[in-house]
């Protein structure tokens, strides 16, 4: 298992190194930790430059052995190639432009999305814009993204009674990168046959705001000394799958306790897990994770320092696709992070319902966890205004910030 993990981590590590800004973003975003005033939210708009989408065959080390360009932006500059990846019509326009791309027959296993024209590395700024709204309960404030003198850091608080809509604001410290993702199962391109490839974008909870955002962090816009509220954005998750049907995404927030499952506090949830399954609630296909921040979240072990009791493992990096297997009860086992990420989460049987279990790590032992389903509607940081906690089976009621305290027996409205 370890050998597999090590081997498979190489291409992932390489991809992350190649995408310098992504790597720094993931690390630094994690360091931000959880504290009062910190919330994750789902952008209502996210414009990224999509210069090329490339299909690759890779060797055991992740090096491409052959490539086929599926899409090339018809414009010359990154600014001209911005696409709102939260807008289905914008994504449809790309697909329409591609039509049926002619590629050499063969087996391909990786899809890459290039933010910038070739020759530009992670030191080159890339355009990017985010739009969203979020509420910070402890401040009794709702913020919107905006540009202008009243929003020098890309956000401003709404005045009482104000109903202004958010505008796109420039993402801070956003650089050229390539996002490469392995397919759970490779795509076989046969002669004279059209094969469908579906790439799902998940922008949920990929933005967060804290009162102490440093403009030096990747994907973050704030004062350099970190003395003011700002906004950070992570790269949206991409899931490439063979076929034309849109898969289902089962989303969960994860709360932990070091050793007592009955002592888990859901309000301390600090991770986001998505299991992708085939359409119609079919078999699990793959899974991915990312950190989640709320005003009550425990600091995960991907932070320094972290909460030794409620923090749980680290949730960063990619899932090792080769590690994803369906378990006997319809769940999945999967390993996240690279071989050097000793604290990254390893699930042995993550079922697709509200459940408790044990999550392992490579070097830091195990943690008890509670997987709390998230309803598809709503927006992070906007629900759960006061944590009514009326006995919801989702284990809410522990304070309910960031959409976690709406009582009810259903999934959490994040």
């Amino acid at each position: 298992m370890n050998r597999i993990a090590n081997r498979r981590s190489l291409p992932i590590a390489r991809a992350l190194l190649g995408a310098l800004s992504l790597a720094s973003l993931a690390t630094l975003a994690s360091v931000a930790g959880a504290m009062p005033g910190e919330v994750s939210f789902t952008p209502t708009g996210l414009k990224l430059s999509v210069m090329r989408i490339v299909l690759s065959a890779t060797d055991a080390n992740g090096n491409p052995t052959s490539q086929a360009v599926l899409y090339t932006c018809p414009e010359a500059t990154e600014e001209e190639c911005l696409v709102d990846v939260t807008d289905q019509s914008a994504l449809d326009a790309i697909a329409e432009h591609v039509g049926s791309a002619v590629v050499s027959v063969g087996t391909y296993d990786t899809v890459s999305l290039e933010l910038c024209a070739s020759g530009k590395n992670g030191m080159t700024p890339a355009p990017g814009y985010v739009r969203g709204i979020f509420t910070v309960e402890s401040e009794h404030e709702t913020y919107i993204t905006a540009e202008g003198d009243d929003a020098p850091l890309g956000i401003r608080a709404l005045e009482p009674g104000e109903l202004s809509e958010p505008d796109f604001a420039k993402i801070g410290n956003w650089s050229c990168s390539t996002k490469s993702v392995h397919l759970p199962s490779p795509i076989e391109v046969s002669a004279d046959v059209a094969t469908d490839l579906t790439v799902v974008v998940d922008p949920k909870l990929i933005a967060f705001s804290t009162p102490n955002v440093s403009g030096g962090m990747g994907g973050c816009r704030g004062l350099m000394n970190g003395s003011a509220r700002g906004v950070c954005v992570s790269y949206p998750s991409l899931v490439p799958l063979v076929g034309e049907e849109t898969p289902d995404l089962e989303r969960f927030l994860i709360a932990h306790h070091k050793d007592d499952p009955d002592a888990i506090l859901d309000s301390k949830a600090n991770a986001y897990v998505v299991v992708v399954r085939s359409a119609g609630s079919g078999d699990p296909l793959t899974a991915f994770v990312r950190p989640y921040y709320s005003e009550t979240s425990a600091q995960t072990s991907s932070n320094v320092p972290y909460d030794l009791v409620y923090g749980g493992p680290g949730y960063f990096g990619e899932t090792l696709v080769s590690s994803v297997h369906v378990t006997a009860d319809g769940g999945v086992d999967f390993t996240t992070g690279g071989s050097l990420d000793g604290n990254s989460a390893i699930f042995s049987d993550f079922t697709l319902n509200d459940h408790k279990g044990v999550v392992d790590t490579r070097t830091q032992g195990t943690y008890q966890y509670h997987a709390i389903p998230i309803s598809p509607a709503g927006n992070g940081g906007e629900g759960g205004s006061s944590g009514s906690g009326a006995g919801g089976t989702s284990g809410t009621g522990e304070g309910g910030t960031s959409g976690m305290g709406e009582g009810g027996s259903g999934p959490l409205p994040v």
Partner: protein
């Protein structure tokens, strides 16, 4: 016997490619749909002369046109992008 026939057919094909100026070498190993047009790596003439199976390597043909047609070496990928 069947094997010989196949070789003979191969020679014929090679010979044909000389006529059309095809410079492609061993078309069965080609990865691009239209051969390596005019790149001069063809072998057809030499293969035919030697009477050996149509293998690549020796010739320096300089045909101006694309290589052997009819190789099914390409497929299509239809890309769908979905936000969830």
């Amino acid at each position: 016997m069947r094997l010989r026939s196949r070789h003979w057919l191969a020679l014929v094909a090679v010979g044909t490619s000389i006529v059309v100026g095809c410079s492609s070498s061993d078309s069965s190993n080609e990865e691009t749909p239209n051969g390596s047009a005019g790149t001069g790596h063809g072998t057809a003439g030499n293969s035919a002369t030697a009477g050996s199976p149509a293998r690549a390597g020796a010739g320096n043909g300089s045909g101006p046109n694309a290589g052997a047609p009819g190789n099914h070496t390409t497929g299509m990928v239809k890309l769908n992008l979905k936000v969830k």
